[in-house]
């Protein structure tokens, strides 16, 4: 998020050029075993990472650009692979176990690539007998005359089967994106009919007028709403609730810092609680599902909600410790009246039914993404949402997630992800250390980058640790994925960390140093708590 008014800043211009350079960089470096497609994938990855960090273009634009470059450069139908065929021929047998092969077929490590099945090759070690200009004579007992060997090992199809372009553009209709679409439409309708505000009014009333309980109430309500709605929209709504309270305080009263910080903190934490709470969850769930570790709506809540509650209570205690209440009671004057028009009532029914079906997924077994089409269809059928409301949906967020999922697919298919984790002895690190490191890295990165981008950049590594098997049996893909998702949402030390932070900071009530102080403590305690849950709780509730 940038606060500038117009034009590119010098940082953004630097990022623009670095990103474009990053796209071609892999072709300028000797990268050993990385396939040609892997080099393209690495170029796209570097460009995307740089663009996401420096933001010369908006982050959703980078996501769309990723998909475009993938269909152009990596897909089976793109110009790069449209007519490509792997050059292979059968070796010429000179004597028994002695073969003549084209010189381009020999790899530096004295192996040749034998085609085992279309698009797949296996390296077979050979012994060089004689080099003969265009040809090499080799000895090998493993070759046979009916096996094709790759005659050009540098070819772009070596170790790569291009996906159809529909796999990349299809990410926009990935079940998890559809789940979010359902959530977005519910949220849009809730805002339109003020359901979020009215719920806030009802839910806050039991918390009375004592400041410490009002803060607790504000945090619980914010978290509960942001578990189903966008964190940002929830924070913006809650800011309109707290501004009148803050206006009742003396100008120098420090309690207002706590009040104003409670909203973004609770909004950020609340997003963890459900799959649709915040976009990083989507990136993680999409990647896990791809590898057979799908997690139901119910299971996600069972996994995440206890951590959310613990974090909220801790943050509440922390805010009260730093910024103790200065007055005995507050006048929480929430005005408004429940909308009882037929359309609004239609919304309440659809909202209730959808959420009920989501959280009971384990009981009826209907996938949450299918349930998500209930609000999608019902809200427009009942004219509860109009055409302009649908245009007003945060499509940028859907594209941001789709691009993230697409980047992950490309990194996996091109072999890039496995190549990136090679060269480091992950097994020596141990599973618990790995969880801790991923937690710290995710919180650290996500403080400066978009949460979704952080999840996008880290998830391919988690997946390749799983597929390569370097971590051994102790490695748990599902739990490591959850660690990434949760950690990405616990970064809130800076105004740029999350949009709710940016909104709270923009009110001018809080100072950056207060946000940083509280945010850093929450990040550290959060990582410790993640580690504890990953060791003791999550293994009990996942399989």
């Amino acid at each position: 998020m940038k606060s500038g008014y117009s034009g590119l800043t010098p940082t953004q211009i630097t990022g623009l050029f670095l990103g474009i350079f990053g796209l071609i960089l892999p072709f300028l470096l000797p990268l050993g075993s990385l396939s040609f497609a892997g080099q393209i994938g690495l170029g796209i990855f570097i460009m995307a990472a740089v663009f996401w960090m420096f933001e010369p273009i908006p982050i959703y634009a980078t996501s769309m650009l990723v998909i475009f470059l993938q269909i152009l450069l990596l897909s089976a139908q793109g110009p790069m692979y449209m007519d490509a065929q792997l050059p292979a021929s059968e070796p010429v047998e000179l004597r028994e176990h002695t073969w003549q092969i084209p010189s381009g077929a020999l790899l530096d490590d004295q192996t040749v690539l034998v085609v085992t099945e279309p698009g797949k090759t296996e390296a077979v070690p050979v012994e060089i007998v004689e080099r003969n200009g265009q040809h090499i004579i080799i000895r090998s007992e493993e070759l046979s005359a009916d096996q094709a060997i790759v005659t050009n090992t540098k070819h772009r199809l070596v170790n790569y089967i291009p996906n159809s372009y529909t796999d990349y553009i299809g990410t926009l209709a990935n079940p998890i994106i559809i789940l979010f679409l359902g959530g977005f439409m519910l949220a849009e309708a809730s805002v339109k009919y003020n359901l979020d505000k009215n719920l806030t009014r009802y839910l806050l009333s039991p918390f009375g007028s004592k400041p410490r309980f009002i803060i607790l109430g504000l945090m619980l309500v914010t978290a509960a709403l942001s578990a189903f709605m966008s964190n940002t929209a929830t924070a913006a709504m809650m800011v309109t609730v707290i501004l009148p309270i803050i206006a009742q305080l003396e100008p120098g009263d420090r309690f207002k810092f706590g009040l104003a910080l409670s909203i973004p903190i609770a909004a950020n934490i609340g997003g963890i609680a459900t799959p649709i709470g915040t976009p990083p969850n989507a990136i993680v769930i999409a990647a896990l599902t791809e590898y057979g570790k799908s997690i139901s709506f119910t299971d996600w809540i069972i996994v995440a909600a206890p951590l959310v509650v613990m974090m909220l209570i801790f943050a509440w205690w922390l805010l009260l410790a730093f910024f103790p209440p200065s007055v005995d009671r507050f006048n929480l004057n929430l005005k408004g009246k429940l909308n009882l028009s037929p359309k609004a009532i239609g919304l309440y029914v659809i909202f209730g039914a959808t959420v009920l079906l989501w959280i009971t997924e384990n009981m009826h077994g209907i996938p949450s993404s299918m349930v998500a089409f209930l609000p999608v269809a019902a809200l427009v059928t009942g004219s509860i949402l109009s055409k302009s409301d649908i245009r007003n949906l945060p499509w940028d967020v859907l594209w941001l997630m789709a691009g993230g999922i697409s980047l992950g697919i490309g990194m996996d298919k091109t072999g890039l992800a496995v190549w990136m984790i090679s060269g480091f002895d992950w097994g020596a690190m141990g599973y618990i250390t790995l969880i801790l490191v991923f937690g710290i890295v995710a919180v650290g990165m996500s403080n400066f980058l978009s949460n979704t981008v952080t999840a996008t950049l880290l998830m391919p590594l988690v997946i390749s640790l799983h597929t390569s098997g370097v971590m051994g049996d102790s490695f748990n893909l599902l739990i490591t994925g959850i660690v990434i998702a949760v950690a990405c949402s616990l970064a809130m030390a800076l105004p740029i960390s999350t949009p709710p932070n940016a909104i709270a900071m923009s009110t001018g009530i809080i100072r950056t140093k207060d946000m940083a102080k509280v945010g850093v403590i929450i990040g550290i305690v959060g990582v410790m708590l993640i580690l504890a849950y990953a060791m003791f709780y999550w293994p009990l509730v996942t399989n």
Binding site: M1, S3, G4, Y5, S6, I59, V191, K192, D196, S230, N231, T232, A233, A236, M237, V239, T240, L243, P244, G271, T278, P279, N392, L393, P394, D396, V397, L400, S450, N451, T452, V453, T498, P499, A502, I503, S506, T507, G508
Partner: protein, 167 residues
């Protein structure tokens, strides 16, 4: 506070009054640069120059009695001009007769009428309200304006308009 490209323009022929207006707007000036002119003629030049530089005119505070064309005439002209149509327009005067005031309301869609003498609170309150209207209508990114303008209305707008979304 970063300067925005949204300007406040004050048009007033008496230097002392002009100084008083500018002094009262001091709190806003950090973010919304204030330009002044002493006649309709000069105001047109200032507006032309600012718009050509890619700046925006968010708020125009105009006296009625001016040398040459009067304030109401100028505001009507600016209302009809596409480039200043969305600018918020305030007539700040003690001498406009009923006819002129009615004309300004009907033909210039005057946003506010402040009668002299004004109080600093009134002037600031009106300016904040009108600039909030202007940025909500014209600006994509509202966050930079929250601390100076009406934070509650801007938050409400972020809630409904999704111009800041989860990322």
């Amino acid at each position: 506070m970063e300067r925005s490209d949204i300007y406040i323009l004050c048009i007033e022929d008496e230097q002392e009054v002009l100084d008083a207006v500018v002094r009262d707007l001091e709190k806003l000036e950090e973010q919304f640069p204030v330009e002044t002119s002493t006649s309709a003629e000069e105001a047109r030049d200032v507006i032309e120059k600012l718009l050509d530089d890619g700046k925006k005119i968010g708020l125009i505070l105009c006296d009625h009695i001016l040398p040459g064309d009067n304030g109401v005439e100028l505001l009507i002209e600016l209302h009809k001009n596409d480039r200043t149509h969305t600018s918020r327009k305030v007539l700040l005067t003690g001498q406009a007769g009923l006819d002129d005031t009615v004309r300004a309301l009907n033909e210039a869609r005057l946003h506010h009428y402040i009668s002299k003498p004004w109080s600093r609170e009134e002037l600031l309150e009106v300016s904040v309200k009108l600039l909030t209207d202007f940025v909500i209508e014209e600006e994509e990114n509202l966050l930079p304006y929250m601390s100076t303008l009406d934070a509650e209305r801007i938050s409400e707008n972020i809630r409904t308009r999704h111009n800041v979304s989860d990322e």
